[in-house]
């Protein structure tokens, strides 16, 4: 089945040690998103790629970066994780942007623990 895949499902990193989370999609969608979801909170958009164009949300910390080397893959890099970055990170895709007309498909998420 076509889907959004995230690896790993669980990631433990040390305070200040860079970490990379991975997302891949078989849907051939133009747009890929990264969301952060903390416990009992709503998913919060960090940034998205429309094809190769990167769009950062205004309140996303500089500590978070992203790369999209090709249509299928997108990475979330946390340069110096702090304890406050412990969360579930969700990757999503949509066929196009067009002001929300296209449904977003979500991956299972990566739960990040910072020790």
């Amino acid at each position: 089945d076509a889907m959004v895949i995230q690896n790993p499902r669980y990631q433990v990193t040390q305070f200040g040690k860079p970490v990379t989370l991975s997302c891949s999609q078989t849907l051939n969608h133009n747009v890929m998103y990264w969301y952060q979801q903390k416990s009992s909170q709503a998913p919060k958009l960090l940034f998205h790629y429309y094809d190769k164009d990167f769009n950062n949300e205004a309140d996303t910390p500089d500590n978070f970066q992203s790369r999209r080397p090709n249509t299928s893959f997108c990475f979330l890099d946390i340069r110096s994780p702090g304890l406050g970055d412990a969360a579930m990170y969700l990757c999503a895709t949509s066929r196009d942007w067009a002001s929300g007309l296209y449904e977003q498909y979500f991956g299972p998420g990566t739960r990040l623990t910072v020790t």
Binding site: V4, L90, S99, G100, E103, Q104
Partner: protein, 114 residues
Amino acid sequence: AQSVSQHNHHVILSEAASLELGCNYSYGGTVNLFWYVQYPGQHLQLLLKYFSGDPLVKGIKGFEAEFIKSKFSFNLRKPSVQWSDTAEYFCAVIGNSGYSTLTFGKGTMLLVSP
């Protein structure tokens, strides 16, 4: 800035009970509205969506939602819940013109007891 408010954080029902989960949004323009569901251990998936037309929309698994523009609401309903409906439910909104991003509510955890 747009925002979404879900009225209940936790709801507990017995099987066959009727369900209504409240969702209100704040946005200065025309919106598209969604309900997503996350079953235990699974990813977020779309339950139903409203873009335009009939304000009563039907989704998968017997769920429906009604968009009431005057109340800025998009409540989710199901006449008779099943144990398998145990999940977390998220309401989300996005503006349908210009640059807008999907804004989620905090979610409602529904527990259905057999």
